[in-house]
């Protein structure tokens, strides 16, 4: 009987800790959602007494944010497209061939994950100025390709590893050239991993602040950089409104993934199973 009470106490404690952890993650989000509808222009007692959509209106009417959003979508879109293409090609090479320096190349491709983004941002800035690139947009795209590439390489490599090598050989034996076998058999089977990598890449790029801070110029800046600058200059709740829009955008993305491939397949086994 004592054991049972002990188990119950343990379970209760466990449930409590889980609930606290969940609250810890959720409360700030809920607060910012509520604040985004706050009618006041100063930070007052919570919860607010008057609600309005003024911060959303502010966001929608301010061309400064528009420009940021436009640049963000452009940079993230192009960076995702380039890093997905390059990352898939790199992953195929790493998966299919054994060559000297293979491990070094794999480590290099994934290394941006562990290098501080501030370092990448600074290095890219120096590198770009050496190359004579002083325009913000190409600089931003270059930097974002570097930071998004590891996600595509990793997820694609993981799903390629799960594809039996006999499938490729079967395609070849049936008269397909290596390129056709890759295109018609291997890549379709790795599509979950490729798709997951592309989505991760887009989200990471869209979210990125540090690298973008270094590589932006006065006329070309991403949305997070715009928000940061605006917050520094004049703290208002537009940031909260934009956070909510960000949140909705993420939820939409997750819904799309769920409809297309199934979320559990994307984050779990799917990466390994193809």
């Amino acid at each position: 009987m004592m054991r049972r009470y002990g188990d119950l106490a343990g379970l209760t404690l466990y449930a409590l800790l889980l609930a606290i952890a969940a609250l810890f993650a959720l409360v700030p989000i809920v607060v910012s959602i509520v604040i985004s509808f706050d009618d006041r222009t100063f930070i007052g007692p919570f919860p607010p007494s008057e609600f309005s959509l003024r911060w959303y209106g502010e966001f929608l009417s301010d061309s400064y944010y528009h420009e940021g959003l436009k640049v963000s979508l452009l940079v993230s879109g192009i960076a995702t497209a380039v890093s997905t293409t390059a990352g898939v090609m790199a992953a195929v090479a790493l998966d299919r061939f054994q060559f000297p320096g293979r491990n070094v190349i794999q480590a290099l491709l994934v290394s941006p994950l562990v290098i501080p983004t501030v370092v990448i941002g600074f290095a890219m800035l120096m590198f770009a100025s050496r190359l004579g690139i002083i325009d913000g947009l190409p600089r931003l795209i270059m930097g974002h390709i570097i930071i998004t590439l590891p996600y595509v390489v990793r997820t694609t490599l993981a799903s390629l590893t799960g594809i039996r090598p006999t499938l490729y050989e079967a395609a070849i034996s049936l008269g397909a050239t290596p390129l056709q076998a890759l295109w018609e058999v291997v890549l379709p089977l790795a599509r979950t991993g490729i798709f997951a990598g592309a989505i991760f890449a887009f989200v990471m790029s869209f979210d990125e602040v540090a690298v973008s801070l270094f590589l932006s110029d006065p006329f070309t800046y991403t949305l997070p950089v715009a928000l940061l600058a605006q917050m520094r200059a004049d703290l208002n709740f537009t940031v909260a409104a934009v956070s909510v829009i960000f949140l909705l955008f993420t939820i939409l993305l997750i819904w799309v993934i769920e409809r297309l491939v199934g979320l559990d397949r994307l984050v779990g086994q799917g990466i390994y199973r193809g």
């Binding site: 039996r164 006999t166 499938l167 050989e169 079967a170 395609a171 070849i172 034996s173 049936l174 008269g175 397909a176 050239t177 056709q180 018609e184 058999v185 379709p188 089977l189």
Partner: protein, 364 residues
């Protein structure tokens, strides 16, 4: 001209000789089994015929043309993999159509040929299924249809039945034989299962340690093995080691621990070489008393250790008075089983024994 001709094929992986100067031919429509234990080089040989590996030296002639340096997709080969390797993201019809598409079969012809191929493997109507919706046996037949539909010059089957359970394997072996004979395609089957090889193949190439031990029909290999390895690998065998005493006209006399015994000599035996007499279990007669003893040149006293009831057959585990253990197999004709420790006589003739040289250390 043989449909497939391997001449002096050699392949080394990181200084390990996988295939050592192997040569054999297959006539058009013939079914050849490459038989041997794992690591004997049979799979490497298959992969060289398919083009996944390039031989270090030697020639691979298909229809008289050397293809040793051609890539797999430049050869007209049909391959059935051990794991079937069906494309999981395609339907059965798309799997079967894949080869035709890439080998330039006219688009309009593909559906009819797909249906024909499915009918040939008795899977009509399953065109729209996915491989994951098929049983193991059905997947195997789809893989077979996919390889056959392009009318390859040579069909290659890698352990075709090893992924199936025992009962299905028997049934599919018969079907496979029918399908392959019906297709009249030259076929190479790689297997480690001697029953599969004997049941499917017109001729068997027995491989061991990268070398070909013997090539022959299943009957030839079983009745006239040339080496210790072949005799031991195919079917059951009892071995009585000894010294070669005399050898002439295909007869050899061996001094064994149970006395001098005569047997057939199927291969040249070096004088005074260590040899062994191979006695097939079904060629040994187990006599409970003296009845019928006059039919046998050699009679050895023994006692019964165990009788295994195998249904159609009985397997006797016997211990000779001199200490050697033998096993014998006889048809189960319903006679009462001998008791344990019962004294019996083991009878056989010179025709029943095969004298072969014992392998030297490092061989076999």
């Amino acid at each position: 001209m043989p449909a497939l001709d391997l001449q002096d094929i050699k392949k080394t992986f990181a200084e390990v000789v996988a295939v050592d100067r192997a040569s054999f031919t297959a006539e058009a429509g013939e079914i050849i089994a490459l038989l041997g234990p794992s690591g004997c080089g049979k799979t490497t040989t298959l992969r060289m015929i398919a083009g996944f590996e390039t031989p270090d030296s030697g020639q691979i002639l298909i229809g008289g043309k050397d293809v040793a340096l051609r890539r797999p997709y430049e050869r007209n080969i049909g391959l059935v993999f051990q794991d079937y390797a069906l494309f999981p993201h395609m339907t059965v019809a798309d799997n079967i159509g894949f080869g035709m598409k890439h080998r330039g079969v006219a688009r309009g012809e593909i559906p009819t040929r797909t249906a024909d191929a499915l009918a040939r493997v008795k899977l009509s109507g399953l065109e729209r299924r996915r491989p994951s919706q098929l049983s193991g046996g059905q997947q195997q037949r789809v893989a077979l249809a996919r390889a056959l539909v392009t009318e390859p010059d040579v069909m290659l089957l890698d352990e075709p039945l090893s992924n199936l359970d025992a009962k299905l394997r028997h049934q599919l072996r018969v079907e496979l034989r029918e399908i392959l004979s019906g297709a009249e395609t030259t076929t190479i089957i790689v297997t480690h299962d001697q029953e599969e090889a004997m049941g499917l193949a017109d001729r068997i190439v027995v491989m061991n340690g990268g070398k070909i031990e013997q090539i022959g029909t299943p009957q030839e290999l079983y009745a006239r093995p040339q080496t210790y390895f072949v005799a031991d690998f195919l079917g059951g065998a009892n071995w009585l080691p000894g010294r070669l005493a005399a050898c002439a006209d295909g007869r050899a006399q061996v001094d064994t621990s149970v006395g001098p015994i005569s047997g057939r000599a199927t291969a040249a035996l070096p004088p005074a070489a260590p040899v062994a007499l191979c006695l097939r279990p079904e060629r040994l007669a187990v006599l409970p008393d003296r009845t019928g003893a006059e039919d046998y040149e050699t009679l050895l006293p023994a006692e019964v250790e165990l009788v295994e009831h195998l249904g159609a057959n009985l397997r006797y585990w016997l211990k000779l008075t001199s200490g050697e253990r033998l096993h014998a197999e006889a048809k189960n004709l319903g006679a009462p089983l001998p008791d344990r420790k019962a004294p019996v006589q083991v009878g056989f003739n010179a025709e029943d024994g095969i004298v072969l040289a014992l392998p030297q250390d490092g061989e076999a």
